[in-house]
């Protein structure tokens, strides 16, 4: 709980977040068809490491909340909040990150080579995600860029394999963290 309290405190202290993100989120929600099949949750198996401190390498389970108001064929947006829970190299349990950001499905097509993965026809929807990444252990806020090259979508499910993300410290411009989500399952309900 202390981690979350610190996280919110940090958010409130940050001028950029205080000014722009709530406004953008309200606009996004107001423009959305709320009755659509649009809310969901996800579970993932993740591993992530910090470039300058390998001892803070973590693996475990990641949980996500998804809001997908539209179903555009190209550049379909979703709001996603994620948090991870796992063990470090010494076996200690930690929350290595909390992320909140915008994911965009670059395209949606059923003409692809991955239909053998599913019993039903699935759409191929590779996605890019940009998000605010907060590391409660180090009390630092970073910018995260994620790519999900093998994302398959059905009406109720997303299946993602070999997704990756990197985080950058916007002050120094240097890469701070990288991570992989080997599998992620997201269930969408109303």
């Amino acid at each position: 709980m202390q981690d979350f309290h610190d996280f919110y405190s940090r958010l409130l202290e940050d001028d950029l977040l205080r000014r722009y993100i709530p406004t953008l989120m309200i606009l996004f929600l107001l423009l959305s068809p709320l009755s659509a099949r649009s809310l969901g949750y996800g579970v993932s198996f993740f591993g992530q490491t910090i470039v300058e401190d390998v001892d803070l390498t973590t693996s475990g389970v990641e949980f996500s909340l998804v809001y997908k108001p539209y179903s555009f064929k190209y550049f379909n947006p979703s709001l996603i909040a994620r948090t991870a829970f796992g063990t470090e190299a010494d076996g200690a349990y930690r929350i290595p990150y909390v992320q909140m950001g915008l994911s965009v499905d670059l395209l949606r097509t059923i003409n692809h080579k991955f239909n053998f993965l599913s019993g039903n026809v699935v759409a191929y929807t590779p996605a890019l995600m940009g998000s605010v990444h907060f590391d409660p252990r180090r009390d630092c806020t970073l910018f995260s860029l994620g790519f999900s090259p093998f994302k398959l979508s059905q009406k109720d499910f997303w299946y993602e394999f070999f997704s990756g993300f990197v985080t950058y410290d916007l002050k120094t411009g240097e890469m701070d963290t990288w991570g992989i989500n080997l599998v992620r399952y997201t269930y969408l309900f109303k």
Binding site: G47, T49, T87, V183
Partner: protein
């Protein structure tokens, strides 16, 4: 070099029907974690891949390679050879009739790796494995193996490691319904 030669030889043997009677051949892809031996293997996440072939209707043989992903991307690899038996019926009937769609696997085998006192690649562990849940079958063309737990007795240190595979997918190249149409 020896490691690659060994792996290629093994894959070649499995890829061709040198012994009559096998039912099926699958490519495996999934996730692996090696726990309880952090001094030998500091990895936090591995990619599991390999081949699985049916020896009889209830026995199968699996070759699994685990490559470290985090924190050092593809820095090392271990190779596991496992013989496994289904506990709840036929995994495949070798005909257009599918085997049991939900099953449990119990197996044992060995692992070759660098996780030894010497630090060189070689026979390192004896494995005892249980996969509590498999969904699918060779005849269906796909199978998911869930929550595989393997106790690994380290022949070099005498310690016990734990291998945990959250999920693995088997995609059948031979022995699926397409071969029995």
């Amino acid at each position: 070099m020896n490691k690659k030669l060994f792996l290629c030889s093994l894959l070649c043997i499995l890829a061709f029907p040198m012994s009559a009677g096998y039912f099926d051949l699958a490519v495996t892809l999934g996730a692996n974690v090696h726990m309880n031996e952090r001094d030998l293997d500091p990895s936090r996440m591995k990619l599991a891949w390999g081949l699985s072939t049916g020896l009889t209707d209830v026995w199968e043989f699996t070759v699994q390679v685990d490559n470290q992903l985090v924190p050092y991307f593809f820095q090392d690899a271990s190779i596991s050879l496992l013989t496994q038996r289904t506990l709840f019926g036929q995994r495949s009937t070798g005909s257009r009739t599918a085997g049991v769609g939900i099953n449990t696997l119990l197996g044992m085998g060995v692992m070759f790796s660098e996780y030894r006192e010497q630090g060189t690649f070689g026979l390192s562990h004896v494995l005892f494995s249980v996969t509590p849940l498999t969904v699918g079958s060779p005849v269906m063309g796909k199978r998911e193996r869930l929550l595989t737990l393997t106790l690994a007795y380290n022949l070099s240190t005498g310690g016990i490691g734990i291998l945990f595979d959250l999920i693995k997918y088997d995609f059948y190249l031979v022995g699926s319904y397409k071969d029995y149409l």
